[in-house]
């Protein structure tokens, strides 16, 4: 998560209007998932790779590393579709185990392949958004879309305080380590518990202090903020729409 946050700040596509990026990511994701077409998914996968690693300047090795993260889920998910345990052998493969067969159908394999492609394509859409847009810009774009303010305010505060608490937690852990707090399993568990409880108390204290500080700046219950604006270019919108139409066409022709 920290890695994604750091990369999103360095991305060369960072200053492109967040609404354009959000629109692109959401529409592409929707088309990719709805079509269930391997051709669409492959196209999306390729285009997002070029955009993120090429145009965005995210190091390719890191991008590939990030793509392997959902792989475990993918394998588990596709295994469920391809591998059956049944009394009758199916057409693709069958391994006899006693009375039963571990077996799969070619239709199942086909489906698993499509599922895999669709999932990877969808993941690249989300990676495109999160690797090229900083969190606060995504929130600002959501604000423009009139998402519920409470949800956005909570996200804003949670996002900020993940890092504050992470910093505090790391500091506590370091100080525990410097006092042999992780000598063996027992002390390690104990230290971790102690850190958790003191972190909780600190979080409560912090939230009180933050509330005071916000009140000192005339906080009245709604978090009003302005974000920096990066103007959206018509050309960018046009590109997105054209691309989505093209994807729709691919879906239609290649099924």
């Amino acid at each position: 998560m920290l890695l994604i946050d750091r990369l999103s700040c360095q991305s060369k596509l960072r200053y492109i209007n967040a609404s354009v990026k959000l629109m692109y990511a959401v529409l592409t994701l929707a088309l990719c998932v709805l079509s269930r077409s391997a051709a669409v998914a492959a196209l999306v996968f390729a285009v997002n790779g070029i955009l993120t690693a090429g145009k965005g300047g995210i190091p390719l090795s890191l991008y590939i590393k990030l793509l392997t993260v959902p792989l475990a889920f993918l394998i588990a998910g596709t295994a469920a579709v391809t591998i059956n345990i049944s009394g009758e052998p199916l057409d693709a493969f069958a391994v006899p185990v006693g009375e039963w067969y571990i077996t799969g159908s070619s239709a199942g394999i086909c489906q698993a392949f499509r599922l895999c492609a669709t999932a990877l394509g969808a993941v690249t859409c989300l990676y495109f958004l999160s690797l090229n847009t900083v969190m606060t810009d995504i929130l600002a774009a959501c604000r423009k879309l009139h998402m519920p303010p409470l949800l956005l305010e909570l996200t804003l505060l949670i996002y900020r305080f993940i890092f504050v608490l992470l910093k505090t937690g790391t500091a506590i852990m370091t100080s525990q380590q410097s006092r042999l707090g992780n000598r063996d399993f027992r002390t390690r568990v104990r230290s971790f518990g102690l850190m958790g409880s003191s972190l909780f108390i600190l979080a409560v204290k912090r939230s009180n202090a933050l509330y005071d500080a916000m009140e000192a700046r005339c906080y009245d219950g709604s978090l009003k903020v302005l974000s920096r604006e990066y103007p959206a270019r018509r050309r960018q919108f046009a590109f997105v729409i054209l691309f989505e139409l093209f994807l729709g066409g691919v879906w239609f022709w290649c099924g």
């Binding site: 900083v134 910093k167 912090r206 500080a213 903020v225 302005l226």
Partner: protein, 305 residues
């Protein structure tokens, strides 16, 4: 003099909306006090000890005032009271000659006039985006979006935040966070700016930067109240030093007056500033004439030699 006035005012009663306000408003205009604190006491819930104990204090408009005193002497509580975050149990606080009204509108007015830069920037910065962070206060004052945008951009420029304005808050250094914390308040155009130990945990470079910003505040006519433990800096910078101890002001005066009051300094567990110590020793030894005015800072002392 100020103490006489205070006891007179205290005699007038310290209810929140007394009719005799009008009468001494005129006196205050003459004195030009921006803040008056009269017999203020405050106790935190569930704490037997009074954090503020019958505190009296007047602050002149445009002054540079250093607040000194040990931890727990009540500085931070006083600051929160001045901004209406904490409501005194007894006594009253006047800003611009008007007692603080603890209504929504009254508090809005006070908080627009008195701004606090908190000691720990991580307790103050709530947004990961510097721009959003700075825009918060001014929008709360009801400023329209376009003006707010201009003001935010002006302050970013003025406090030299531009180089790191696009970085998320958690990627900023302590000094940069402090700059943003000051911008947070400055954008609201306060009359009084309270800085709670602004140089705590900063390196010399950023301390210098903060000091520079503080000087520019005074140049703008903003009254600056600063809590600090740095006696040498307070002596050099302040027009007035306020010594606090156990929720009371035990001494208020020019830096030299306060620094020569050994009993008060001892009570607040503070050391004499180096300049004063050297100056007194030199005078004792007859190295500098006895009738010479006390030096305001090290450079002045060197000039005497």
């Amino acid at each position: 003099m100020s103490y006489c006035l205070n006891s007179f005012l205290a005699g007038c009663g310290f209810g929140v909306d007394e009719p005799e306000d009008m009468e001494y408003n005129e006196m205050e205009q003459e004195k030009n006090w921006v803040i008056e604190v009269q017999d203020v006491s405050y106790t935190y819930d569930g704490d037997g000890k009074k954090a503020l104990d019958g505190l009296n204090l007047n602050i002149r408009r445009g002054a540079k005032v250093a607040f000194m005193g040990g931890n727990g002497s009540g500085k931070s509580t006083l600051f929160l009271c001045l901004n209406g975050i904490r409501r005194p149990d007894t006594g009253r606080i006047c800003i611009d000659g008007k007692p603080i009204r603890y209504t929504r509108k009254g508090l809005l007015e006070v908080r627009g006039k008195v701004g606090i830069v908190f000691q720990e920037p991580d307790d103050q910065l709530f947004s990961a985006s510097v721009y959003e962070e700075i825009s918060f206060g001014i929008l709360n004052l009801g400023t329209d979006e376009e003006t707010a945008r201009k003001e935010v951009e002006r302050v970013i420029e003025e406090l030299e935040i531009t180089p790191f304005q696009d970085r998320p808050a958690h990627a900023l250094s302590g000094g940069q966070k402090k700059q943003v914390a000051i911008a947070d308040i400055l954008v609201m155009h306060p009359e009084v700016m309270i800085l709670d130990e602004p140089a705590a945990a900063l390196d010399p470079k950023h301390t210098g930067k903060v000091e520079e910003i503080v000087e520019s505040l005074t140049a703008k006519g903003i009254t600056v109240l600063m809590a600090t433990h740095d006696m040498d800096y307070a002596y050099d910078w302040a027009d007035e030093i306020v010594l606090m101890h156990e929720g009371k002001v035990i001494r208020q005066g020019t830096p030299f007056e306060v620094c020569t009051d050994r009993t008060a300094l001892e009570q607040a567990s503070l050391e004499l500033p180096a300049v004063v110590r050297i100056y007194e020793r030199l005078k004792e030894k007859g190295r500098i004439p006895g009738d010479i005015a006390p030096p305001g800072n090290v450079d002045e002392l060197i000039a005497y030699l």
